[in-house]
């Protein structure tokens, strides 16, 4: 280890001293060891990030196709209709017109890909892998090889999911929830292969993805517990680390019951068992030849036991990212750090006891419903605490509106809309009407799309300089931001209206054939609203082009910046950009909390966690403590 003295800033140069002292693995690794099967947490983070972004755009493309069918049902898909027909066969797209089975495949795979191959890998695995060890001052994750295996399992899971589009009969059609007994019966029969069919591959892909998330979650928690730098006490952890910590616990404990359910559904499909097949099931007019005695409700319980914590898996990392960026760009400490931490922990605990609010319509019984309705009401409290703390953090700050901050600020109202519109769904009487309508779609997309995805974009713009030593272009960032924000709202706001008109989320014809969808709101019927929504979706697709170009262009050509371009306080900014293998030249020591902005008595308006205490700091903290600020 070289004896470098300065901690706060380093020139973005080579670090030859490191190579000399370590006889082992510091010689140049071949390309495939360095970038393909690397055990370095930063490379794995970037692998997760880029793979995840590709899947995110792919999943979004599936939706852009569906939006055509919804706005113009039964019409030929322009430009690519024939190409799709050739790729997926006449069973999916005939004469350029999408068939119902293909539409169902698109819907099921859109949900699956966006959640499990897009958001979770980016928000949790990519940012977690890249940022968490840097923020806690660790040289790497605790188990680098397991970390690599985690990415590989994810990658093969993704490949299996993609492969399923090209097997006879196409990808899974049972919705991202794969409700039984429908999902057990789907993709079976003479036109399907007993193994290489959409639903079976969906299950196999899931086992790989669950394995991946298990390995990742164990690694994250162990890293945060074991590898915190000297002085990095629990209450000095950046909120992002806390968010990832809670998220990792959710993945660790909520995914395995789904794995057991996936194994059981595989048994149902391949070994002919009846875990989810009730007695006396009649299909196409003939009694089904299975032993029966199973329970479709069992699948729903096991699925939503994952499914609800999964919602917080999607949102918590986003909240963590937003917290970092808000504190950095308001140039003052995050308001209510402790409340935020405890709110995140409570959120984590409660998220395990609310799952059945997805199942009001199953007739579980009023006692069960009353219990879950109560817990669901309670869980809104920590969510509101977190959001309020972010809003209050903005108060009185001299806010720098750079691109990360624009996305982070937009996250707040968008997540607010998503969260508040969830409250009617939490009451089972209101949900009886709204269940499975576009209202539900609008509600959770507001949380995940302009919520988490905006947080993800904010994080990419924010940590890009750390990963590359260059920053992304501000102007094109804004060209990316504003159309995305506007389109998001044109897409999802009208869906609340459609939902309240009673339009069902899984209709293949966009509600064209349904009378009540004819009712006009602001001059357009429920069905006609599909057209502006679809156009906005396609425009939003175009609005991602500046981002894609900016991203790749900036890797090589972006403006060069120093190690701490945002003048931030957390430890990742003390490492060189990009950080070398092993991250820090000198293992950092932590002296203070994560958000020491505008500390009185200091010249700079940011004081890094690794800067030793001075006499003036002590006075400033004492004054603050006397005034009741902590």
């Amino acid at each position: 280890m070289d004896a470098s003295s300065g901690l706060a800033t380093h020139p973005p140069a080579e670090h030859p001293a490191q190579h000399e002292d370590h006889g082992h693995d510091h010689h140049e690794l071949p390309f495939w060891r360095k970038y393909i099967i690397s055990t370095d947490h930063k490379v794995i983070g970037i692998q997760y990030g880029i793979t995840g972004l590709i899947f995110l755009f792919f999943g979004f493309s599936l939706m852009m196709l569906m939006r055509w069918q919804l706005a113009y049902p039964g019409q030929e898909i322009p430009l690519i209709g024939n190409l799709l027909g050739r790729m997926f066969g006449p069973g999916a797209v005939e004469n350029g017109v999408m068939k119902a089975e293909f539409y169902n495949s698109l819907g099921a795979m859109h949900g699956t890909i966006m959640i499990f191959l897009g958001i979770v890998p980016i928000a949790f695995a990519a940012f977690g892998n890249f940022v968490v060890p840097l923020q806690i001052g660790a040289p790497d994750m605790t188990f680098p090889k397991i970390n690599m295996a985690s990415y590989q399992a994810f990658f093969f899971g993704g490949i299996v999911m993609l492969t399923s589009f090209f097997v006879p009969g196409g990808a899974a059609k049972g919705g991202w929830t794969s409700y039984t007994p429908l999902a057990v019966l789907a993709d079976k029969g003479q036109n399907y292969d007993p193994f290489w069919n959409g639903q079976t591959l969906w299950l196999v892909g899931f086992i790989l993805l669950i394995t991946s998330s298990l390995l990742g979650a164990v690694n994250f928690i162990a890293t945060i517990i074991q590898l915190r730098a000297k002085g990095m006490t629990w209450m000095r952890l950046p909120f992002f680390v806390w968010a990832q910590f809670v998220t990792a616990f959710l993945l660790l404990l909520a995914f395995p019951p789904l794995e057991s359910a996936v194994v059981m559904q595989l048994m149902d499909r391949i070994a002919g068992t009846s875990f989810f097949m009730p007695t006396g099931l009649v299909v196409n007019g003939a009694p089904l030849h299975v032993s029966g005695g199973g329970s479709p409700l069992l699948w729903q319980h096991l699925f939503w036991f994952l499914g609800h914590p999964e919602v917080y898996v999607l949102i918590l990392p986003g909240m963590g990212i937003v917290a970092e960026i808000i504190a950095n760009n308001t140039r003052k400490p995050l308001w209510g750090y402790k409340s935020l931490v405890f709110a995140a922990l409570v959120l984590g605990f409660l998220s395990f006891v609310v799952w059945a609010h997805h199942m009001w319509l199953t007739g579980m019984g009023s006692v069960v419903s009353a219990f879950f309705q109560t817990t669901t009401m309670i869980i809104s409290i920590p969510s509101v605490i977190i959001l309020s703390a972010f809003f209050i953090s903005l108060w009185g700050g001299s806010i720098r509106f750079n691109v990360p901050m624009l996305f982070a600020t937009a996250f707040l109202p968008m997540f607010g809309i998503g969260g508040l519109t969830g409250i009617p769904l939490a009451f089972n009487s209101a949900d009886l009407y709204l269940h499975d309508t576009y209202y539900v779609i609008a509600h959770f997309h507001y949380i995940v799309a302009p919520g988490t995805i905006f947080a993800v974009f904010a994080g990419i713009y924010f940590w890009f300089p750390k990963a590359t030593g260059r920053r992304m272009n501000e102007f094109w960032g804004k060209v990316h931001f504003w159309p995305s924000l506007i389109c998001m709202n044109i897409i999802f706001l009208p869906m609340f209206l459609q939902g309240m008109l009673g339009m069902h989320r899984r209709w293949y014809d966009g509600g064209q054939g349904w009378t009540l969808a004819g009712e006009k709101v602001w001059g357009l019927s429920g069905f006609q609203w599909n057209t502006p929504i679809s156009i906005a979706a396609w425009v939003m697709g175009l609005a991602q082009i500046p981002f894609i170009i900016n991203f790749f262009w900036s890797i090589k050509r972006g403006q060069k910046v120093n190690d701490n371009p945002w003048e931030a306080t957390t430890l990742e900014w003390t490492a060189p950009s990009p950080p070398p293998h092993g991250n820090f030249e000198v293992t950092p020591t932590v002296y203070r909390g994560p958000y020491e902005y505008s500390l009185p008595g200091r010249e700079a308006d940011f004081t890094m966690q690794s800067e030793p205490m001075t006499e003036s700091d002590r006075k400033a903290y004492e004054t603050a403590a006397a005034a009741g600020v902590h």
Binding site: T142, I225, T273, S291, G293
Partner: protein, 291 residues
């Protein structure tokens, strides 16, 4: 840069990394088996009276397997303790015994217990035809005693083709003792020891059968959960055996010579996993064999 705390404990947590990792992994394993066991509870509570079978498994054999697993949990602790005392020979022998216990457990499952099920046959009789087969079911006798009715006739299937042949109209079965002599009070409760099918033959018309199959996973909710849970548990036993064998082979010796504490830690972690596998069996055994 080296990752700290791979072998020695971090002072403030008192743990080295892999120990944190294995406990977290075991927590997720609890949830995995928890999901399966809750499915078992769900299915069993949902089952119609008399449908959930009893006494199909061989209790003495299961007890023996339980004892073998518990013994192996003891020997793996001895193996670890030997390493801590730097007695490598003793470690080697204890580890060998642990591995052999795991292999015997798996062999009993795969060679004896599972195949015996595959050769057994059971037919669930339609509700309105139960009376016709009263001589095999003895439901009047059971009703008098206030016991749940029988709906299944089981035994050894003589015309195996009948399962798939559309033209076959009936199943010919060498009856299990319970169906051969259904009113015998000895048959009111499940057997403790496995009793093979009798010589007594019965013919069951396919028309009268609700659902019939060999004792495969698809035979019933009971066998579905039995094979899934014991199968997954068996996979865990196999995983443990593989890891132990790896640590027992010369690879382990090499590591011992380089850093004995590191090998001891690895054995401890693998041992924790092994105890968990043992613990799962402690749940499996009563749920399927005894209750």
């Amino acid at each position: 840069m080296e990752i700290p705390y791979t072998v020695t404990a971090r002072p403030d947590t008192g743990l080295w990394n892999a120990k944190v990792g294995i406990w977290l992994f075991l927590a997720s394993e609890v949830m995995l088996f928890g999901g399966l066991f809750s499915a078992y509870v769900f299915l069993r509570l949902d089952a119609d009276p008399g449908v959930w079978p009893h006494g199909l498994l061989n209790v003495p054999v299961g007890t023996m397997n339980t004892a073998i697993l518990i013994a192996s949990s003891v020997t793996v602790v001895m193996a670890w303790a030997s390493l801590k005392m730097r007695k490598f020979r003793a470690y080697w022998w204890y580890m060998l015994v642990t591995i052999l216990c795991g292999v015997i457990f798996l062999a009993v499952k795969l060679v004896y217990e599972w195949p015996q099920k595959f050769e057994h046959f059971g037919a669930f009789i339609k509700k309105d035809k139960l009376e016709k087969y009263e001589q095999y079911l003895g439901n009047h006798h059971l009703a008098e005693k206030g016991l749940p009715p029988r709906t299944e006739i089981s035994g050894h299937l003589h015309n195996h083709d009948a399962l798939h042949d559309e033209n076959a109209k009936e199943y010919e079965i060498a009856l299990d003792p319970v169906n051969a002599d259904p009113t015998n009070p000895n048959m009111d409760r499940p057997h403790f020891l496995y009793v093979p099918p009798t010589e007594k033959m019965a013919t069951i018309e396919k028309e009268d059968v609700e659902y019939a199959n060999m004792f495969l996973p698809k035979h019933s909710a009971y066998f579905a959960s039995y094979f899934t849970i014991t199968g997954l548990h068996g996979a865990h036993v196999l995983g443990g055996v593989i890891v132990f064998t790896y640590l027992w082979l010369p690879v382990g010796t090499k590591l011992y010579k380089r850093n004995p504490e590191h090998l001891a830690n690895r054995v401890e972690v693998a041992g924790l996993f092994w105890h968990f596998v043992d613990l799962v069996w402690i749940f499996v055994f009563p749920l399927f064999y005894l209750l």
